[in-house]
């Protein structure tokens, strides 16, 4: 029995290899959000273009709105962006950007270059709010209802299909709920 303890490093290592192996095939984008149907975490952040103006989650109570996480360093955001710009023209609901772990200047420049679909952008420099929202990959989007509850989460870029078949019907339904409630 006394020899068994010398096997410990080997056993621990093989356990680790198992996780690392599985990790290779994990798609970080395929993670269900535990936040669905939970109240959106509260936050208070400065606006991207106005460092002295703060914006709180509660400012949006009573409205159905979309929170889109973006960053200037994010390649997939660039892919998604024209779609969002196009969608924002329909004025269906307010869209807010969460500029995640970015530099202020870079974020603003990025919006100036690729168009600004947001009613306003919030500046989450250290990613604290992103952590509260369980942001793993950028872009991600949260649809939040009039009571401040997260109802839908898009992980990764929106596609035309996702906007038409998921987002738009849900927004219409939520607006109806808000109207009745």
């Amino acid at each position: 029995m006394k020899y068994l303890r010398f096997l410990v490093p080997l056993i621990v290592f093989f356990g680790l290899v198992g996780f690392l192996f599985k990790g290779l095939f994990l798609d970080p984008k395929e993670v269900p959000s535990p936040l669905i149907n939970k109240p959106a975490p509260a936050f208070s952040l400065a606006l991207l273009d106005k460092p002295d103006t703060t914006f709180k989650r509660d400012d949006m109570l009573g409205k159905v709105w979309l929170l889109n996480v973006f960053a200037s360093w994010c390649v997939a955001c660039r892919e998604e962006h024209p779609l969002l710009v196009e969608f924002s023209k329909s004025k269906m609901l307010p869209i807010y950007g969460l500029n995640y772990k970015d530099e202020r200047m870079a974020g603003m420049k990025w919006l100036a270059t690729f168009g600004n679909p947001y009613d306003a952008s919030l500046f989450d420099h250290d990613g604290r709010v992103g952590i509260d929202y369980g942001v793993y990959g950028v872009p991600e989007s949260f649809l939040i209802d009039a009571k401040g509850v997260i109802r839908y989460k898009q992980i990764g870029p929106f596609t035309v299909e996702a906007i038409e078949t998921k987002l738009i019907p849900l927004v219409q339904q939520l607006k109806k709920e808000a109207g009745n409630g």
Binding site: Y3, P9, L10, V17, F19, G23, L24, P51, M105, Y136
Partner: protein
């Protein structure tokens, strides 16, 4: 033509490495002198081939050969020469080649400086290193060939990531890799000893200088990386607990434990199992770090084009190397006898506790780094582990370590008397408490956490000073006697003292900057000024500047204190022409007791800018401490017994 030659040299190197891995190893097993004799010359040949391949890649960079995919991805015709050199290790493929390059340099060093080793031992050591290089060469050739051609050739390169265009980045990766890969030597010594069954004090004596040199390079490499992050990322932090940083910290922690454990094995013949395990672990963590950084398992969110074959290959390699080493350990370690016995209170106990603490610290960093991955793999959701975890885990582990750092060197081998130790250290303890509280008082406020940090720092200072004084205290003969005694301190011992003082300096810097730094983000129009910690910062406007491959907006900020000018700083916002990334270039007025740090935020209306101003007390002590640790290592390896011809003599 040059890239093809490079590619061909890599294949040749791969063949030679395979021969080194097999023939001398078999020779040592069967006692065939002619097979073993192959190890040394073949290692030199391998080094020549790999160096030739590196020279080919370097030539492609310097000659702007954008028909080579790797050069086209990491360089540009407008890139200054020093950064074209840095481009060599600016990406995945070149980093691997650098890895192998460092490995063959170590092999040549072993070949040159280990002539006194028994033939079997040297053959096994070089064979193990040869096998490791087979793995990396295969990895490069099968999945990440730096010499892949691009057809049609790119008209110009995509440029080196602007973040890496910095003098620190020219030196940081080679230093870091030299350290990382250097642990391969200690690893090879350990494997050779496990196979040969000669795990003893002599083995520890042979391993020690190699471990110390590798550790020294790693220390310098980590310090360079940290200071790069400090001035290049533009927000004044110096350590971020990023997976890539953790990947270099874990081998460092284990290497530090290994250095101490080797001392016990050499001096007392104890801890052999610990030492051999730590030697395997230190290198295993270097490999694991390579896996974490290179496979994309952790940064998968940001790595869009990771090739899963690469991850699989390294994981398979990792499994073979570490798995077989641990198997060998499990098989041979039980037969290794225990060393001399020791009492509960003794130097051995202090060093054993040191081993445990460093291993736990490395384990904690590993856990924090892999935790998100493990939870995700178990389907338990996803989390981010950030600095709060590491800070709260690290501090409690470091406190006892630093305490032992004061006690350990003064304790006696085998058995030490606690009352005697307390008696000898009572002055040190008193000085520590007074100095820690006094420093807080001088700095303006006394904080609990800061006081803990200062206590640890001053404790190391004062106990090293006590130790030093006990060794040189003249017995009635005055000053001449004192000088003679100072001269008698062996370099290895002096090196240890210097390295420990380095830890104290480091700890002091960390504590001071964490507690007493002052930062301020202000909107400044031309002519505005702001006062931080008694320094007046005046914004005198911006102008546009053309760099070799970027355009910059450069601000001019004058700093004065009490009405007289202290310094003038020029922080920049740069946009690199090729990749169009904006970069913040902070400007720093370094000082012995504080850095004045200014970086530019964004432009607001009317020519005003957001300017970020920091006053960072004692931050340079952090890197100064690291340099002292490295200096201590250098002093230790220059000890007389390593210079003696033959070196084996006890």
């Amino acid at each position: 033509m040059i890239p093809e030659i490079g590619h061909f040299l890599l294949w040749l190197a791969m063949g030679v490495a395979l021969v080194i891995g097999v023939v001398p190893m078999a020779g040592a097993a069967r006692g065939r002198a002619d097979w073993m004799a192959l190890a040394r010359p073949a290692s030199y040949l391998l080094a020549a081939l790999v160096t030739g391949a590196s020279a080919c890649l370097m030539a492609s960079f310097l000659g702007n050969d954008f028909s080579v995919l790797y050069v086209a991805s990491n360089s540009n015709s407008m890139l200054p020469t020093e950064y074209r050199i840095a481009g060599f290790w600016g990406g995945h493929e070149g980093s691997l080649l650098l890895w192998v390059q460092m490995l063959v340099i170590w092999m040549v060093a072993v070949g040159l400086f280990s002539r006194h080793l028994p033939r079997e031992v040297l053959s096994r050591i070089l064979a193990v290193m040869g096998l490791v290089s087979v793995g990396f060469l295969l990895f490069m050739l099968l999945t990440s060939n730096p010499f892949d051609r691009l057809f049609p050739p790119a008209p110009d390169g995509r440029d080196l990531n602007p973040l890496l265009q910095d003098p620190g980045m020219v030196a940081h990766p080679p230093m870091l890799y030299m350290g990382y890969v250097g642990f391969c030597v200690a690893f090879a010594f350990a494997i050779a000893a496990l196979i040969g069954g000669n795990l003893d004090a002599t083995w520890a004596r042979w391993t020690r200088p190699w471990t110390t040199v590798a550790w020294m390079f790693l220390t310098i490499g980590i310090a360079l990386g940290s200071s790069w992050a400090y001035y290049e990322l533009g927000w004044g932090g110096w350590w971020f607990w990023d997976p890539v940083e953790n990947a270099s910290l874990m081998p460092w922690l284990l290497g530090t434990a290994l250095i101490h454990s080797l001392a016990v094995t050499e001096k007392r013949g104890s801890f052999k199992n610990w030492t051999v395990l730590l030697a395997i672990l230190a290198f295993s963590f270097s490999l694991l770090g390579t896996f974490l950084v290179r496979s994309g398992v952790l940064s998968s969110v940001h790595a869009f084009a990771t090739d899963p074959r690469r991850g699989l290959f390294i994981l398979a390699f990792l499994t073979i190397v570490i798995g077989s080493s641990f198997s060998l350990y499990a098989w041979r370690a039980p037969t290794v006898g225990l060393g001399a016995r020791f009492a509960l209170f003794s130097k051995e106990t202090a060093l054993l506790a040191n081993n445990v603490l460093f291993m736990v610290a490395a384990g904690a960093v590993l856990l924090g780094t892999l935790y998100p991955l493990i939870l995700d793999a178990l389907g338990l959701g996803k989390i981010s582990v950030g600095p709060p975890y590491f800070d709260s885990v690290f501090m409690p582990l470091m406190a006892p370590t630093f305490f032992l750092m004061g006690v350990g060197p003064m304790a006696r081998w085998k058995e030490t008397s606690v009352p005697d130790l307390a008696q000898r250290l009572r002055w040190a303890l008193g000085v520590t408490v007074v100095a820690a509280i006094g420093t807080g008082w001088l700095a303006g406020s006394i904080h609990l956490v800061a006081t803990c940090g200062l206590l640890m720092s001053f404790w190391i200072f004062s106990s090293v000073a006590t130790d030093f004084w006990e060794r040189v205290r003249p017995e009635g003969k005055g000053f001449a006697e004192l000088r003679r005694r100072v001269g008698q301190i062996p370099r290895a011992l002096a090196g240890m003292m210097v390295a420990h003082i380095g830890v104290a300096v480091f700890c002091f810097g960390v504590t001071m900057v964490k507690t007493y730094e002052v930062e301020s983000d202000v909107k400044m129009a031309v002519g505005d000024s702001t006062t931080v910690s008694g320094y007046q910062f005046t914004f005198q406007g911006v102008k546009n500047v053309q760099g070799p491959n970027y355009e910059a907006t450069r601000a001019q900020i004058e700093i004065s204190k009490g009405g007289s000018k202290v310094s003038e700083l020029h922080p920049e916002k740069r946009v690199y022409r090729v990749q169009q990334n904006p970069m913040t270039e902070a400007a720093i007025a370094p000082g012995f007791t504080k850095d004045l740090y200014v970086s530019m935020g964004e432009e607001v209306e009317g020519g005003a800018w957001i300017i970020r101003v920091y006053v960072k007390p004692f931050i340079d002590w952090i890197w100064g401490g690291c340099m002292l640790m490295a200096l201590g290592g250098l002093m230790a390896v220059s000890d007389r017994r390593y210079r003696r011809k033959g070196g084996v003599a006890a």
